[in-house]
Amino acid sequence: MKFSYQLLKQLVPNLQGKQQVRDALSLHFFDVESINGNIIDINIPANRWSDAASHWGIARELATILNLNLQLPQLKEYKTRSKIIDVKITNKNLCPSYNAALLNNITIKDSPLWMQKILIDCGLKPINNVVDIMNYVMLETGQPLHAFDADKITNKSIVVKTAKNQEKFISLDNKNYILDNTTLVIADDKNSLAIAGIKGGKKAEIDNNTKSIIVESANFDSVSIYKTSQKIKLITDASLRFAHNLHPILADIGIARAIQLLKEIIGANLVSINKNTFYKFSKKVLRFNQDEFSHLIGLNVDIKIAAQIFQKLGFKILSKDSNNLILEIPPLRTDIENNNDLFDEIIRVVGYDKLPSTAPVITLKTHESDDLILFKRKVRKILNNFGLDEVYTYSFIGDDDVEKYKISTPLKLLNYISSDKKYLRPSLIPNLSKSVKQNLRFFDRVNIFEIGNIFNKDYTEKWSLGIALSGDEKSFFELKGILEALFSNFGLTDFYFAEKSNYDLLVNSLSIIVDEREIGYIGQDKVYSDIVVGELDFKKLLDLIEGDLEYKELPKYPAVERDVSIVVGDDVKVGNIIDAIQSTNIKLIENVDLIDEYTDKNWINKQGLTFRIVFRSPKKTLTALEVDNCMNKIINVLQKNFQAEIR
């Protein structure tokens, strides 16, 4: 919000320059965003618009923080008199206060140059003396005002009510709006004259011939103004202020100041004033206690200093003792609701540089920290050691991805920022594959992983580990190897890959089974077939890793290795052969490995495979005969089940 340094200096005459203003405000609650010549742009926090979205409010803050004199104009208090204007308010909840003043002896011309300059500095356009005074009083006091041409108002009767559904309204900017029955309007017997608290209409607009005016200084329900403003997509200085919950008493201040300036500057004559207030005004009294302050903030403050600060801020000290101050809160300070809120006033004015740094005294506890977060670290390290780079990708996928991968009903955003970031990712794979593709422009091999959150259709989410490798056939087995090494690293021994083909995003896929539980899958990316991907449920993996690694007895007896070379149909899966071999003698077969593959150009639909079988007994050294017997069993099975030809 733009402020005029000139006007501030009038109110706090001993100000020493804009830098001083910036330093004072920025450290003590009001961030100064920029200084441009005489214009100071100040950020008004959302809870201080009632008292400080105004030059008078900021001036008071400066006077307090810098301990300088504050010179505010003295205002007269007006009560309803000579009720010429009739005011009816149909919904008192939406309009807690409405003041209307009728003034005549008006001649429309330019406002004085000094006022125009201040308006321009604050980002407002000078129009004519009446409108300018309305805006100027808003800048001074924070109260939005509006002036109507009194002669254009039918029967000098004003009604505050809700509009008709689909009612058309033309603003004084000549823009068209469609209102509904939740929109509050200011109307006369015939037409709507203004969208209450937001924008005036053409009907009772001030023009060069206006001779008498009705000044409106009112208060409207903040939620109603906020909602209407969003609905009709119109934000104005007035609507912004009302949406921030102004105290109704500000309306009294506004009308008093407006009348004062209209008399002084234009020579207007106050004919009548109609004040309507429906809120219950009650004094807010709170207690500032020195010990409570010290208990929360951790700083001791002298009660006399606290009293000084409160006084400068406009609080009335009703009574005090060595420890306490009983304070009457200025009505405009709607942000102060309980005793605790008083502490901020003291510490922010005193300054945080005075706050000591004190080590907390705590009871030590071993943290029941989130295991998942610490597990992430371990997995990262292991995968880095295997040569995989870690990436972070966006939590979103787009129409493109959904179409290419044929993803069914992913979670969608209502207000997505672009069509390529429209859905919540149900898997890490699409973004990882894309990343591999893009990195292949600069690298020959790309091996990456990500640990991130993915989203399920029922709006739940889970941690996922995704891996993507570029490359050739070998990459598939590399991925298998990486996963096996990962599992082994955590002491898992019971894991294998099983054929399974109904994974959305893959072709040629296997499921990952650990401790008989399916925890993920690997395969070729459906869209980029030269990229091998895998994904597993991170939490499921963590759950399967119990406690610590255990020692296994070192083998006592030597192993015997035997190789067998076979020729089988090329549709026979190596995995099945290995399974079959292993099941011939689970106790004695320690390992089965594929050690060679070959084809002969004379073969059609055949493949040659060599397997190495390692036999070992935990109880004794196996004899050649025993091993021969095992091998015979194996050869039988291979011939029977796979029609294998033994070479």
Partner: protein, 327 residues
């Protein structure tokens, strides 16, 4: 005697050509002209010769000895030259050992978590999809109030089935969830991904990382907060970093502050914080008259941009390995 000498010469001719290396050459030298070698053997029986024979044979023996010595010397230097050729050139460049790189945000997370672990803070996690209550209402940020405009929100299409769901705009909701299920005193940090509906540029992204901190007890003061934050920042940026607090407003704290650090003569805003608002404690059913505490939020991406001098936040999510390999 002369034919003995002749035989030695022949033997030497045979042997010298078969020598393969310095070791064998040395053995040859010892065999022929060593202390107990063949030549000295002959010289031993030299004294038994007549003067006439001595005068005839002497020069022959000497000549042979010289020749053998010379030949061995030549072979030695030949072998040494070859050896120099086979010595390894250790100035050649190293073999590349490849290793995978950690993402800079992971480094940040680890570093930050470690510092807080040393201050006895536990690490807590929470969901990225949140409901309106936990993300806003419980934190004293009511609907239809401009205060909520401080956070631009992504709303999720729930097909009118459930209560309004959104992507969390800060990690603060996890504080609420934690307080709903735990009793004070405690101190926790919550790292996590958050989301903002805003245009992306060098310093703004639609998803990024925040770290929330919360310390609650009967005697936790703002001065304690100053201590914790100083401890963290000194550890993270070094003891020379200057910091300052500025009074500020957030709906869920009272008083509220923003923390700036001074680096390279510029003040940078890095953290929002304050004493947890009474209303927030009421919402989680703590006795707000006895319990007090502080909360803070810091942008991890922002810290990474500052510490590693990364110019654009978008680099963190583009997955470009040329960037990742720098860490």
């Amino acid at each position: 005697m002369l034919d003995k000498i002749q035989k030695i010469q022949e033997e030497f001719e045979n042997s010298i050509n078969k020598v393969k290396n310095l070791q064998e050459l040395e053995q040859l030298r010892i065999k022929f002209i060593g202390r107990k070698g063949l030549i000295n053997d002959i010289l031993k029986s030299f004294k038994n010769l007549s003067d006439q024979e001595k005068r005839n044979i002497g020069p022959v023996i000497n000549k042979l000895k010289l020749e053998i010595t010379e030949r061995i010397k030549n072979s030695t230097s030949l072998f040494q030259k070859v050896n120099t050729k086979n010595k390894i050139d250790i100035t050649k460049p190293a073999l590349k050992i490849s290793y995978g790189h950690q993402h800079p945000l992971s480094r940040m997370e680890t570093e930050i978590i470690d510092i807080f672990h040393s201050l006895n803070f536990a690490v807590v996690d929470g969901p990225e999809i949140e409901d309106e209550y936990h993300n806003f209402d419980a934190l004293n940020i009511p609907a239809n109030h401009p205060a909520r405009d401080m956070w631009d929100t992504f709303w999720i299409d729930t097909k009118n089935n459930k209560s309004k769901l959104l992507l969390r705009t800060h990690t603060s909701p996890v504080q609420i969830r934690y307080m709903e299920t735990h009793q004070p005193p405690f101190q926790i940090i919550v790292p996590g991904r958050v989301f903002r509906y805003e245009a992306t540029d060098q310093s703004h992204e639609i998803n990024f990382y925040q770290l929330e901190g919360l310390m609650v007890g009967e005697n936790v003061t703002m001065a304690n907060f100053k201590f914790i934050v100083e401890s963290f920042l000194y550890k993270f940026f070094g003891k020379n970093v200057k910091l300052r607090f500025r009074a500020s407003y957030f709906p869920f704290v009272e008083p509220g502050v923003e923390v700036d650090i001074k680096l390279a003569n510029k003040w940078l805003e890095i953290m929002g914080a304050g004493m947890v608002h009474k209303k927030v404690f009421d919402n989680v059913k703590y006795n707000s008259n006895k319990i007090q505490g502080f909360a803070f939020g810091i942008g991890i991406d922002r810290l990474a941009l500052i510490k590693y001098k990364i110019p654009d936040i978008r680099l963190l999510y583009e997955g470009d390995l040329r960037f990742i390999h720098q860490f």
